[in-house]
Symmetry: C2
Subunit: 231 residues, 2 copies
């Protein structure tokens, strides 16, 4: 753990509250919609859409465009089939406007004093950049699957970070709220920190946040992570 | 000019004072060396080294490695042939420790309130990231020729920014202290701002900073640019 120089962060669910942010915006714009169900349906399309890219069924396609494809598929069944192009484009950009978890900015500022902190998200570069401006996320660097043209859990994404920073994989730690992401990073020899985000899918749908022993660290949130890493 | 959303910055010479920073560090470490001549010799190898990549004579090679190749070539003639591997590696990283021009951080903070601000440098991602931490440069995003695998003035670097941000080239403005960089950006339909850095090569070797009419803007420094852009 003493060798870590670079902390890379999964973003959707780990740094920002996608569910709560989408629910809040949809409640405001379209109060007739079941916003939690809509948010979960949108997110449920995420892995299958990326899988079409990973499998080669689709050429490289960035998340903004995958989000839009999924959105087009779910609008009608959620009572939003009447939205015009400008409204659809605006709604799709909600992923650029997701709000950080309450501890995220303060935790990142502490972690940044001792480590390079960067995103390592499947979200595209412009999405991550706009989100950082929106939420005040103090990244040192914005890395994305878009840079490596490989969606996590493709090893090229994790190993790409070590290559960019010219360090060994053991000098990189992935911070994420998802065990599958962390497992893939461990398989590439990265160190890993699990963050509990019990309410990622909403306060009424808590997820299991039990520790997995293989991770280097397990922390409640980014402030606890900063404590553990001596920041 | 009202359409600009993204400001991208050339870095070496435009944001940071490579000459003054290298001279200061070499003077401290190796007082026997003619530091200004050494700094200029190192920088003089930069375009020829990138040209070997552009021409295909070298495969994609990042600037850290090109800087090291040039360094190896000039050490002996500048009285530094005795440096061991650790000393050479440390000296090569001086490019990660370049200091901002006095107006740079304050100017970027103002520009950031209204625009997305990003690097667009031939420097590699880790170099730019470490430099930002060293100098407190508040980038929203770190873009590099390394992302596009194309060194400026290759059009792919300029057009790559527009593609990443899903905007037209006219919505991107390149800020640089070098007319050749700006001319290549204009050829790609970007807007351009020239910044006077008369002492880029040292106070005793002032360069011509005359305006070129084809640029969208001409500004003394980043504070004057912020004034002109209403920030």
């Amino acid at each position: 753990m003493n060798t870590v120089e670079i902390l890379v962060f999964d973003v959707f669910g780990t740094v920002v509250d996608w569910h709560g942010s989408i629910v809040a915006e949809v409640n405001q714009l379209y109060p007739q919609v079941d916003a939690p169900a809509f948010a979960r349906a949108w997110r449920a399309g995420y892995q299958p859409a990326m899988q079409r890219v990973r499998s080669g069924a689709l050429p490289w396609t960035r998340i903004d465009d995958l989000h839009r494809m999924i959105l087009n598929d779910i609008l009608t069944s959620h009572g939003l089939g009447h939205l015009d192009e400008a409204q659809r484009a605006h709604l799709n950009r909600v992923w650029h406007r997701l709000n950080p978890w309450p501890d995220a900015v303060a935790g990142l500022k502490r972690l940044k004093t001792k480590f390079v902190i960067s995103t390592l998200s499947n979200g595209n570069l412009s999405l991550l950049t706009h989100m950082a401006k929106h939420g005040g996320l103090p990244w040192d660097c914005v890395l994305s699957a878009e840079v490596f043209k490989a969606y996590k859990p493709d090893p090229r994404a994790y190993l790409g970070v070590a290559e960019v920073f010219d360090v060994s994989p053991e000098q990189v730690m992935l911070v994420a709220a998802h065990h599958d992401d962390l497992a893939a990073a461990r398989a590439c020899s990265l160190q890993t920190a699990y963050i509990e985000r019990a309410h990622e899918f909403g306060a009424d749908a808590p997820k299991d946040v039990s520790p997995v022993e293989a991770n280097t660290l397990h922390a409640r949130d980014f402030l606890a992570l900063a404590d553990r890493l001596g920041c």
